[in-house]
């Protein structure tokens, strides 16, 4: 019966097989680093910090084109976005953010970096200062959108005791968050390089620029909050006492001056190019020795970090892909640009008698305006990437009727002719036809003039500017103005205006709130400032009051900060076809209200501070709701 031994032999084999199960099941991960691996090497720490940089919050960013064009400064020539112009405003949860995971990860970074003993002191100091900047920046973002929030500065841990109440922290006062941002900036500025060539990592100037902006915001909320008493909470979570205004303005001015003095590095307005409009546009794409830019979200070709802003927004005609032209700046916005004599005037489409004005060149109608107009907006009759932008709505015939088409570059037969020819621009405008310049304009800011930047497989490396010197000057101007230093304010503003071709200086007496507001609107357009400016000045509900805009309203109150801006208007150009007339081949313009614009925006008091999510309140009963919600 020796065969019977096979059975135990085989069983033995099977059992021996099982003794190394654990080893068989252990499969090493291919993309996970341990604590030790991270905290022993500068480049791994930078890898971790890089992720925190990448998660910086911007309300507007080139990574998300609609985020830059809201509030009727532009129409969206994109079928999926028409709804934005057919509703009556914004939900109470708009612009919400509550990313304490981000805060926790920064807090963990700070905790672990502080404890790391294998890094040099110099590296640690800089890493820590950068992390604190990112944390302060996000608290700034939180306070702008949500008001005061719980100020969590340590990584919290739940102990599974069943009672999490020790983790419940109430909202800090709005002013306390601003104070924190300001004090952090002061605490870290000297640990950061004063190096104007470093744009994507935090520098001393970036910390100061954040401080100046935060202090200015806090100051204006304190000062103008009195106009909207209903937008405040008794505990100070929303609203800052008016008495604190001057203190904040002073801090804003001091911080701005520290940059202007050159202490934080050699910053200056960008003035490389003789063509002032081209010069203005170049600020946003010229990365070589750009003296103006302070802090950016940087992109790089062939790195995996690129963006499609140019694909989405460049002129549709001649685009590398079958899309583009989504952000169409509105006529309302275009008319905000001054004439070179510092006066405001509508775009002249008719003479005083209401008769149309005829222009030989399409772009002539915009002549004599602030150079920033053509630097920000792609005007009809200009060109991009060496290709003429083909924006025209049709022919006006001798009898006044319009001959147009409903397709880009559509062909029709003109009266008296036998073969069809083009009767509408390849860039439109065609009402309701997406990607054409429905407002009559395209956006120029951030468009990448490099060939290939509109290709999906290539995209663009144009950086997104978060802080730049011109804003620092305007912040200084506003703070100085509010502190009663009109001359200083004028001085700062004139620097910015001169660069835009507005060479007649404003005097101290010219500086008004409206002037300050206007200057920021045109200089910083589409850079993510407009909403926060309207909010902190408490004028958003006046600008967007829910009433429609008619043709007559358009040209009224130009230059006034509270001018109604509830609907985007368009400006369409037509070519005259009347061989018998001297005007044949000339251009006329008409303001147009697009058929897709049917709503009028109303900014509710409850929009000043975003509602706090129900689950946040459920999870922490100490959190109070925002006003008017």
């Amino acid at each position: 019966m020796k065969k019977i031994f096979y059975i135990p032999a085989i069983l033995l084999l099977l059992l021996s097989w099982s003794c190394n199960d654990d080893e068989f099941l252990d499969r090493p991960p291919t993309s996970i680093l341990s604590e030790e691996q991270i905290w022993s090497d500068d480049s791994q720490v930078l890898s971790l910090l890089g992720n925190l940089y990448n998660r910086y919050y911007d309300l507007g960013t080139v990574k998300d084109w609609p985020s830059l064009g809201g509030f009727n400064e532009a129409f969206f020539s994109n079928a999926g976005s028409y709804g934005d112009f057919q509703n009556s405003g914004w939900n109470l949860d708009s612009w919400r953010t509550w990313d304490y995971t981000y805060i926790r990860e920064i807090n963990l970074f700070i905790q672990k970096c502080t404890a790391a003993d294998k890094l040099s002191t110099a590296s640690k100091d800089r890493f820590l200062a950068e992390a604190r900047f990112l944390r302060a920046s996000y608290y700034f973002e939180l306070v702008k959108r949500m008001g005061g929030v719980p100020l969590v500065l340590e990584p919290l841990t739940y102990d599974f005791s069943g009672n999490p109440s020790y983790l419940q922290q109430p909202r800090a006062k709005e002013s306390e968050i601003y104070d924190f941002i300001i004090s952090e900036a002061e605490a870290i500025k000297d640990k950061l390089p004063a190096n104007s060539t470093e744009k994507s990592r935090v520098t001393m100037a970036a910390a100061l620029a954040m401080e100046a902006r935060a202090a200015l915001y806090a100051g204006s909320i304190a000062k103008y909050g009195v106009n909207t008493p209903q937008v405040s909470l008794a505990g100070g979570e929303v609203g800052i006492p008016a008495t604190m205004a001057m203190g904040y303005y002073t801090k804003a001015l001091t911080a701005a001056k520290e940059i202007i003095s050159g202490k934080a590095g050699a910053y200056a307005l960008y003035t490389k190019k003789p063509d002032l409009s081209e010069n203005f546009a170049s600020i946003f794409y010229d990365k070589a020795n750009n003296s103006e830019v302070i802090f950016v979200d940087d992109f790089k070709l062939k790195s995996g970090k690129v963006h499609g802003f140019t694909i989405s927004n460049q002129p549709r005609y001649g685009a590398e892909e079958e899309e583009g032209g989504r952000i169409n700046p509105s006529l309302n916005f275009v008319e905000a640009f001054e004439k070179l004599d510092n006066t405001f005037a509508p775009i002249p489409t008719t003479d005083a008698a209401g008769k149309p004005l005829y222009y030989t060149n399409q772009v002539d109608i915009f002549a004599g305006r602030d150079a920033r107009l053509a630097g920000t907006v792609m005007l009809p009759g200009t060109s991009f990437k060496g290709r003429a932008v083909d924006i025209w709505a049709g022919y006006q015939l001798a009898n006044g009727t319009i001959l147009s088409g409903d397709d880009r570059g559509a062909q029709k037969t003109l009266p008296g002719k036998t073969v069809p020819e083009q009767v509408v621009g390849f860039d439109g405008p065609i009402d309701g036809f997406e990607f054409t310049a429905q407002s009559g304009f395209y956006l120029r800011k951030y468009l990448d003039p490099v060939v290939g930047s509109g290709q999906r497989g290539v995209q663009s490396e144009v950086w997104f500017v978060r802080y730049r010197y011109a804003e620092v000057l305007l912040n200084a101007a506003e703070a100085a103005f509010e502190l009663g230093q009109g001359a200083d304010a004028a001085g700062y503003m004139n620097q910015v205006r001169t660069r835009a071709g507005l060479v007649t200086p404003l005097k101290a007496s010219d500086i008004t709130f409206d002037r300050i507001a206007h200057e920021r609107r045109v200089e910083l357009a589409f850079e993510g400032h407009y909403l926060y400016d309207m909010k902190r000045w408490r004028i958003a509900h006046l600008i967007m009051d829910g009433n429609t805009i008619n043709a007559a309203d358009l040209s009224k109150d130009l230059g006034k900060a509270t001018k109604r801006n509830t609907q985007p208007w368009a400006l369409w150009s037509y070519k005259i076809y009347d061989p018998t007339s001297a005007n044949n081949g000339k251009w006329i313009y008409r303001p147009v209200k697009l058929s897709r614009v049917t709503g009028a925006d109303r900014f509710q008091f409850g929009n000043y501070y975003t509602s706090i999510a129900d689950d946040v309140i459920n999870n922490n009963p100490k959190i109070v709701r925002n006003p008017n919600q």
């Binding site: 065969k3 019977i4 059975i7 085989i10 084999l13 099977l14 021996s16 097989w17 003794c19 190394n20 199960d21 080893e23 068989f24 099941l25 499969r27 991960p29 993309s31 996970i32 680093l33 341990s34 604590e35 691996q37 991270i38 791994q44 971790l48 890089g50 940089y53 990448n54 709804g83 304490y100 926790r104 990860e105 919290l156 739940y158 999490p164 983790l167 922290q169 994507s200 990592r201 070709l301 995996g304 005609y317 892909e321 319009i402 147009s404 397709d407 570059g409 062909q411 002719k417 069809p420 390849f426 309701g432 997406e434 290939g452 509109g454 290709q455 497989g457 290539v458 946040v616 999870n619």
Partner: protein, 1158 residues
């Protein structure tokens, strides 16, 4: 410390490397030992004799009776007068033979149980020859030939029958006339005749007889008798689980797609089917009782759905579906049921047969939305829409008149659908296989070539070449080895055009391109027309202008197994199996730059005004390598009425999946290679998995009446934290064959219509490691490669804190209960089965809600195994086989119902009663579709003006007669999200009700089959292109011709004429008609569709004989020919899932084919 560990590590590594090899090697060593050992064992048997001067032949026969040996000798060697005297008591056979034969100068050689007696002098030579088992040697030794004929009961000759001399390997098989001839040793011979489908028969041929005629009886249940269950097979009547099988006979009628799953519609009760996408090479969604994605096991090896779908249907012998706890034996991933596929094998002792199966078919889309192919109607509709929306339009009657005339350039009409869709697209398949077997070796070797085109021109193709080679060999009586090799090359080839799915733009184009747009500038085919959205210009969607995308999978699976009957213990078998799988993917894509032109009639020039300057070149390479090791011990024995079985299995699986994807921006459209200088992306992945299972099963059967089966499995998965890896999954089942019970027999009597009734039940706990966590969620640390940051101008690969580790999660448990019955009635004419099942899953991943931690904590408490859900339903199948004269017919059907329900989460919290009503899933059916109830359409402007409920959120100012009225459920006089209620079922998942119907009629050589299948209780949500007109500024969907409109569209005061759909708006998806899911747009689908309808003719035997063929059949076959359902009026396929209706639909097929066997 370290040193010690090193030695340990080394040992473990050594063990890991060698254990499998050792195990297999042992089996082989055992085999070679056995070779001698077997003969030895025969000779060492104890015998007793008391023979006085007896015929030696008689003595040998006595010995044969006492042992299991057979003597082979020539009568020349042992003349009949040779006598001997021998007296032994319990001596070894060898001793007896030595005593008996030595004096006669004879020697003997034992091979297995065969002992050949031969002259002493040539001992060496003969023994070698015998070992080689050639017939000639046997011939030399024997002197008698038996010949005969084998017939069926109806008198037809039966070819291919295996005839074996009992106890030897001497055998033959019958020829086409059923004739055979066999040389056997002198003396009485026992022949064993066997043939698939017939009862095996033994006959004793006396020495005097040399001619026999045998009639084999048909084995009624032969074909379905043996069912593949986990790690083995069982006789059907002994099954205790819910197990259903579909065989090659059912599968080979389906010529309606290129993958295996697409042929399963309505075939198996409890298997749910939905095929929303029907492109070449597409697969259907198949689930078992809607429990989720099943596990696929092919020839004993766990595989993925891709491998299942792409084995050649011709090579499949059977597909068995384990629906209940009987799947538990497959452990780790069996919680959703198991689909077990067995490929065809050769059979020992069968004639070599060559089979050819080929068919050619044409395909057309079952249904696809139609558009209004008329520029005038398009433009008039737009004018109407603008009047409806804005009260004005820039479109003039004069313009419309030009479109109506349709003569001027720009005003003509072009039919894009006809341009894009090329009808009667071909499909073909050719399979050639050879099968047969000697008495020791059997084989099945097959090659299949399938080629499917698409109705989108002829450049969108799918091609697949399969080989299957299954060889089994009986090395000795105790040792069997087998090799199954399955290989395929799968090629998906199409033009490379923008978008992830190259099949999308051509379909989208049909709804996107407007009728006045034309593909070529000035209709000159040399110039692609700039239609401003050129990606949907079909004239560009080809390999010449667009580019190419070619995706090739090359897959090889090899299974090697050895099975060894352990001597000395009856019924004990050891098995070892090793499987190696390698899949290799190479995908190359190149999208070219191209130019689109505008023709300028005034100077007869073509100007480039559009196109793309964006070249896109990509390549994906992927390699998946899997190893499966299995060691198995089986025991099966019968003691009187008791039959015991036991199985023990140890199994390991590992997989490594490596993938690279690179992208470049080439500088030209010509050269295919990629260069570093133009490359901008390189993604690299390398993942592994590993699982280990130990499985034990015992079954017991008493008198084929009571059956009990118990099994348990211990599984470990790499996915969980080391201390949470192991799960234990037991199951039990029992069956009672009521009709085997004597008192029942007495009760129902001999002439009862009830032939057989078995009641069975099972309960098992199954596990699943697919709980929604990643393999390393238990490890702390940092995830690397979380996007790049550009810092100081350099790209930095970033890392991110992994966050809270999940180390408290383990297997969730899936508890399946099944109660069922199998029965046959009316003399087995009517057979059927019914099942009820309930699956409760507990320990699903979820959150404990009673502790609320502040959101400011920055992390959520980790999920735990706390949630539970259920899946319950029933299914049944019934088949009737009848005969009327020479007409045979059968009618069969099956139906199943299954529904899933969420049971509970851990102390859920709701903010308010609405939140609870809307968002709770506690105790509710899963996959509920929420929407508004449409209670009608406005009939007049006056009704709108007087209507108290604010429907559109804008005081009803956007409403027109014909617009939808929603029910104000909460009575707050406005329609908002609070007015939603459940209105339907899943739109993307499987139907909750599935059924199939099969009819078959045959008369002489003619056969007719019709198979139907259907489903119900699922939904299609009509949206996008199917919901509002002019979506994307595109074409006008034909369904909107039936709409509310004014008698004179230009006159706002003219009367309204009712229609089905609301009045036109131009691309206004935001309107209250369209921006809400409602009962107007949601359709709860019910369908029954013809699957296979086939008419075939088999040549009669008389003709076949002349042609020297075994079988010849021709057929014409239709698949998906028609469907009866409630989506026809929307122009979409009933199984569609995509809301826009633009999914690539299933095809209708018409095929002609032949099957030949030589």
């Amino acid at each position: 410390m370290k040193k010690v560990r090193r030695i340990d590590d080394l040992l473990f590594t050594l063990m890991r490397i060698t254990v499998i090899q050792c195990f297999l090697a042992c089996l082989f060593v055992g085999m070679s030992l056995a070779h001698d050992g077997r003969g030895q064992s025969a000779l060492s048997q104890k015998v007793s004799l008391n023979a006085e001067n007896q015929d030696i032949k008689k003595i040998l026969r006595q010995l044969e009776k006492q042992t299991n040996v057979t003597f082979v000798f020539s009568s020349k060697l042992i003349q009949s007068e040779r006598k001997a005297t021998i007296k032994v008591q319990s001596s070894q056979l060898s001793t007896v033979l030595d005593q008996l034969l030595k004096p006669l100068q004879l020697d003997y050689k034992a091979t297995d149980n065969l002992i050949v007696i031969k002259p002493d002098r040539s001992a060496e030579k003969v023994s070698e020859v015998i070992e080689n088992k050639t017939d000639e040697t046997i011939n030399e030794l024997v002197d008698r030939t038996i010949s005969g004929t084998v017939k069926e009961e109806n008198g037809n000759a039966l070819p291919g029958v295996s005839i074996v001399l009992k106890g030897s390997q001497v055998g033959a098989s019958s020829d086409t006339d059923g004739k055979f001839s066999l040389t056997v040793p002198n003396g009485e011979a026992t022949l064993v005749l066997s043939f698939v489908g017939f009862l095996s028969t033994e006959i004793i041929v006396p020495n005097s007889q040399s001619q026999v005629d045998v009639t084999l009886k048909v084995d009624d249940k032969a074909l379905e008798e043996v069912v593949v269950v986990g790690y083995g097979t069982q006789r059907k009547e002994s099954l205790t689980g819910a197990i259903a099988t579909v065989t090659s006979k059912d599968l080979e009628r389906v010529h309606g797609g290129s993958t295996v799953s697409s042929g399963l519609a309505g075939k198996i009760p409890g298997v749910t089917f939905r095929m929303p996408d029907g492109r070449p090479g597409a697969s259907a969604n198949v689930q078992i009782r809607n429990m989720g994605n099943p596990l696929f096991v092919i020839d004993g090896i766990q595989q993925d759905a891709g491998q299942f779908n792409n084995i050649s249907p011709n090579d499949i012998e059977s597909i068995t579906v384990l629906k209940d706890a009987s799947a538990a034996i497959y452990g780790v991933r069996a919680a959703n049921g198991v689909v077990v596929v067995t490929t065809k094998r050769g059979k020992t002792g069968t004639k070599n047969t060559v089979n050819l199966d080929a068919y050619y078919g044409v395909q057309n889309w079952s249904r696809f939305p139609n558009v209004v192919n008329d520029s005038y109607q398009w433009m008039a509709g737009k004018a109407e829409a603008e009047m409806n929306q804005f009260g004005k339009t820039s479109i003039t009657q004069a313009e419309l008149d030009k479109y109506k005339a349709g003569t001027e350039p720009g005003y003509q009409t072009f039919n894009w659908k006809d341009f894009i869709v090329k009808r009667n697209s071909p499909l073909s398949s050719v399979n050639l296989n050879m099968t047969g077997g000697s008495d020791k070796i059997s084989y099945y070797i097959s090659a299949t070539r399938l080629s499917q085109n698409s109705v989108l021109g002829r450049e969108f193709t799918f091609e697949r070449s399969n080989i299957q080679s299954n060889v089994d060999a009986n090395i000795t009586d105790n040792l069997k080895i087998g090799v199954q090799i399955n290989g395929r090359i799968e090629i998906r080839d199409q033009p490379g055009i923008p978008g992830g799915d190259d099949y999308w733009l051509p379909r989208f184009a049909i709804l996107r391109n407007r009728p006045f747009e034309r593909p070529y500038a000035n209709d000159n085919p040399l110039y692609l027309n700039d239609i401003k959205h050129n990606e949907t210009n079909w004239a560009y969607n080809n390999k010449k202008l667009g580019g190419y995308q070619t995706d090739i999978w090359r897959v090889l699976q090899s299974n090697m197994n050895a099975e060894y009957k352990i001597p000395g213990v009856k019924g004990l078998v050891a098995r070892g199996m090793y499987s190696y799988y390698i899949a290799d993917q190479v995908m190359n894509g190149h999208e070219y730059t191209y130019q689109a032109y505008t023709y300028n009639p005034s100077d007869d020039t073509y100007k480039v005004t559009g196109g793309s300057t964006n070249p896109w070149r990509e390549r994906r390479t992927r390699k998946i390598i899997r190893n499966v090791y299995q060691g198995q011990l089986n025991y099966n024995n019968t003691f009187g009425k008791n039959t015991f079985g036991a199985t023990f299995v140890a199994e390991r699986q590992e997989e490594r999946d490596q993938e690279q994807w690179a992208h470049s921006v080439p500088s030209n459209n010509v050269l295919p290679l990629m260069y570093f200088a133009t490359m901008d992306t390189y993604d690299d992945k390398d993942n592994q998995l590993a699982r280990i299972g130990y499985i034990g099963r015992v079954n017991y059967n008493y008198a084929n009446r009571y059956y009990v089966e118990l099994s348990a499995r211990r599984d470990a998965s790499w996915k969980f934290a080391p201390d949470r890896r192991v799960g234990y999954f037991p199951s039990a089942s029992a069956g009672w064959r009521v009709t085997e019970e004597q008192f029942i027999k007495n009760l129902i009597g001999d002439h009862s219509i009830l032939d057989d009734l078995k009641i069975r039940g099972s309960y098992g706990i199954l596990g699943d490691d697919d709980i929604g966590i990643g393999p390393y969620d238990y490890l702390p640390g940092y995830n690397y490669n979380q996007g790049n940051a550009i810092l100081s101008g350099n790209a930095v690969v970033t890392s991110r804190d992994k966050g809270q580790i999940i180390n408290n999660i383990s297997w969730f448990k899936s508890k399946i209960t099944d109660v069922g019955a199998d029965f046959s009635l009316l003399g087995t004419k009517l057979t059927g089965t019914v099942d009820y099942f309930y699956r409760l899953r507990t320990g699903l991943r979820g959150r404990k809600y009673d502790i609320l931690v502040p959101s400011e904590l920055g992390y959520s408490l980790p999920d735990e195994n706390v949630n539970s859900d259920s899946q319950q339903g029933w299914e049944g199948a019934l088949t009737y086989n009848g005969k009327a004269g020479s007409i045979n017919y059968s009618v069969g059907g099956n139906v199943s119902f299954t529904r899933s329900k969420f049971i509970s989460s851990y102390k859920p919290i709701f903010n308010n009663s609405w939140d609870q009503y809307r968002n709770s899933s506690e105790g509710r059916f899963s996959s509920i579709f929420w929407g508004f109830e449409c209670i009608g359409q406005f009939q007049s402007q006056q009704q709108i003006n007087e209507y108290a409920v604010n429907i559109d959120g804008q005081g009803n100012r956007t409403l027109l007669p014909g617009d939808l009225i929603y029910k104000d459920v909460n009575g707050d006089a406005k329609i908002d999200d609070l007015d939603q209620r459940p209105i339907g079922y899943t739109t993307s998942g499987q139907p909750n009700v599935n059924f199939g119907l099969n009819f078959a009629v045959s008369w002489k050589g003619i056969s007719f089959n019709a198979d139907f299948s259907g489903g119900a209780m699922y939904s299609w949500n009509q949206s996008w292109e199917q919901r509002w007109a002019y979506q994307n500024d595109g074409a006008l969907n034909s369904i909107f011709l039936d709409r509310w409109h004014r008698a004179d569209p230009f006159d706002l005061n003219s009367e309204w004429i009712p229609g089905k759909y609301p009045a036109l708006r131009y691309n206004d998806g935001g309107h209250s008609n369209y921006n809400k899911n409602s009962t107007f747009w949601l359709h709860n689908v019910k369908y029954i569709r013809a699957r296979t309808i086939e008419l075939g003719y088999s040549l009669p035997k008389s003709v076949l004989e002349k042609l020297k063929m075994q079988r010849a059949r021709v057929y014409i076959n239709g698949y998906n020919l028609f469907s009866i359902d409630n989506l026809k009026k929307f122009g979409v396929d009933p199984e569609i899932a995509e809301e826009n209706g633009l999914q690539y639909p299933q095809n209708k097929f018409v095929n002609v084919g032949i099957s030949l066997s030589i």
